[in-house]
Amino acid sequence: MSYPSDRKYTKEHEWITADGTIGITHHAQDSLGDIVFVELPKVGAEITAGKTFGTVESVKAVSDLYAPVSGTVTATNEALATAPEQVNKDAHGAWMVKINLKNPAELNALLSAADYEKFVSEEAGH
């Protein structure tokens, strides 16, 4: 799997674009298995870097979503409420929330596509 280089990644397996669109990675959806429910914050909610802002439920487990950076939620992908399988089909297209970045410099601390790919392959080798 090659990861798109137009965005940044976290070790918690989220991706974020420069304009503040957030989703989970292909690797995340693959290890979660079939996703059956996505719980997202409301528009206007403040999210904090490193803290949970929602949950993803698969047939295997419920997992937290961690905010890659801090910001205010401006939109949520409502289609996921009725069609959570979109995340399995196209994890890098099925965004979850859009935020106004509080401090765009926070993006610099995140992983590049190449770094993330390396991180995932090391983790799988455990």
Binding site: G33, D34, V36, F37, K60, A61, P84, A124, H126
Partner: protein, 500 residues
């Protein structure tokens, strides 16, 4: 048809059976009342608007139809009485018949919680004796038997942790939880109003003491640890962990789900635990599954005793036993009456039938059985952590997943071999986990059948992975669509042709 034959399972006629509602025909009944020999009551007058003549779609069937319905359904079941139930983390041990015999003794079976205390002394003595036994086994100071299951025990325990910190003027903010924990632990912490902070395991599968030291501060109310943890590994630095918690005023909560590896060998109270729950339906052989009901006693050190749920069992000045309701610092009642009393009788029967030496032997056999399976399957399945196993062993599907076969597929194929599946995909820190807990109940012959089945499945994966991916093949119905069931659940039956 089957690639590999299994010695354990064979084909057997399994009858089809619909819902009992679908068998209904108007006017059929399995009962007949005698003629009325008391004055008839005008129910409409008595109940007014509440009177209901139409009971909806209740099944109308004859007696033999009812008997056959439930008997047929029962043949679809799998139970510990049929074979090994290696569901890791669940301790699905045999429920000895002596437990059932004792629970059915007339005076116990017919007792009622509203009976006056002075004629309930026998029942209260059972509660007291079981409490004393559990305190001796855990090395703790005080106990409540009220909680109805493990998760409710956790909730009760953390409510007490919160009350304890509050009594010192600061409830604190966080609960630390290792990444190998049972999912109920973070859920409990969140329910009690604490933030959950994850603690990473080290390469040996244990709590990383250096990470704990770095994360521990005066905002942390407690650490919730399972010992042995969900990898079946004993937390060897547990005393050091307790010390780190206590140095900053925190408490150590132990999830007692895996006590089957410790009973009569090591006592949580001795290695620094402040509060813990037990699962009578795991460790102490009361029924598990099928509604149980469960029982999750919570044992604590002295400092937490004032916060135990009300009522508390006491010895009165006249020497009789009774309940004390005046406990000003208590977290309150957590369960109607005093918990699931029928389970107390069974657990006590189990403890008495075994005695201290028997309980020690039980623990040793549980650990021996798990290690026998580990030895038998090592090399066939990947063992992600080589740290010694206690009462359960965790493999991964790393070798089989190269052929596209994952833990769930292996588990489905295991059903064809006549076994209940092991626990799949847990603990989460092992990708593709196979978590196997045989318990002490299994004789060597059953363990050998299991090892043989698992080896045979591994061979099938090499020879014809698709066959394993399509399993189960010999069950009433093939693999269910668990995803559709979760995404688009059908939650109730509706009579055909009727809009409801």
């Amino acid at each position: 048809m089957t690639k590999h034959m299994t010695r354990k399972a064979t084909r057997h006629i399994s009858q089809n059976e619909g819902l009992i509602f679908e068998k209904s025909s108007p006017g059929k009944a399995a009962w007949k009342l005698p003629p009325l020999d008391v004055p008839e009551v005008d129910t409409a007058k008595l109940l007014g608007k509440q009177e209901r003549k139409d009971l909806g779609d209740m099944p109308e069937v004859s007696e033999i139809e009812i008997i056959r319905h439930f008997t047929r359904l029962s043949t679809w079941n799998y139970a510990i009485d049929l074979g090994m139930y290696p569901l890791g983390s669940c301790t699905m041990k045999y429920n000895p018949r002596v437990n059932e015999f004792v629970a059915r003794i007339e005076g116990l079976a017919n007792g009622h919680p509203y009976q006056a205390e002075k004629i309930s002394q026998g029942a209260l003595r059972i509660i007291r004796t079981l409490s004393d036994c559990l305190l001796e086994i855990t090395g703790m100071d005080a106990i409540t038997l009220q909680p109805a299951a493990g998760a409710q025990g956790e909730l009760t325990g953390l409510l007490m942790v919160r009350a304890y910190h509050q009594s010192k003027g600061n409830a604190r903010k966080k609960i630390l939880i290792p990444d190998s924990a049972h999912g109920t632990n973070p859920a409990t912490a969140a329910t009690v109003g604490y933030a959950v902070e994850n603690l990473k395991s080290n390469e040996r599968g244990m709590v990383d003491v250096a990470a704990l030291a770095a994360q521990m501060n005066e905002d942390v109310a407690a650490l919730m640890v399972t010992n042995p943890n969900t990898l079946g590994v004993f937390e060897q630095e547990i005393a050091k962990i307790a010390e780190l918690m206590h140095a900053k005023g925190g408490l150590l909560y132990m999830d007692g789900a895996n006590m089957n590896a410790l009973v009569a060998k090591a006592r949580p109270g001795d290695f620094g635990v402040d509060v813990m729950h037990l699962n009578l339906h795991k460790t102490f052989s009361t029924p598990h599954g099928g509604g149980g009901p469960g029982s999750g006693p919570v044992a604590v050190k002295k400092v937490l005793a004032p916060f135990l749920p009300t009522p508390v069992l006491i010895t009165k000045p006249d020497g009789t036993l009774g309940f004390e309701y005046n406990c000003p610092q208590s977290v309150g009642r957590v369960r109607a009456f005093y918990g699931n009393f029928g389970m107390f009788i069974r657990a006590l029967a189990y403890i008495f039938a075994n005695g201290p030496d028997g309980l020690r032997q039980t623990t040793e056999d549980a650990v021996l059985n798990a290690n026998y399976i580990r030895k038998g399957l090592e090399g066939v399945y990947d063992l992600p952590y080589s740290t010694p196993s206690m009462h359960e062993v965790v493999f991964s599907d790393r070798l089989q997943s190269k052929k596209g076969v994952k833990t769930m597929d292996l588990a489905k194929r295991l059903i064809d071999y006549g076994f209940h599946p092991y626990t799949t995909a847990f603990p989460l820190i092992v990708p593709g986990a196979l978590m196997i807990e045989p318990t002490e109940s299994e004789p060597k012959e059953e363990l050998d059948l299991f090892i043989e089945a698992m080896k045979s499945i591994a061979e099938e994966v090499e020879e014809d992975p698709q066959y394993v991916l399509d399993a189960p093949h010999n069950t009433r119905i093939s693999r269910l669509d668990e995803t559709a069931a979760a995404r688009k659940p059908v939650l109730r039956w509706k009579p055909e042709g009727k809009a409801v």
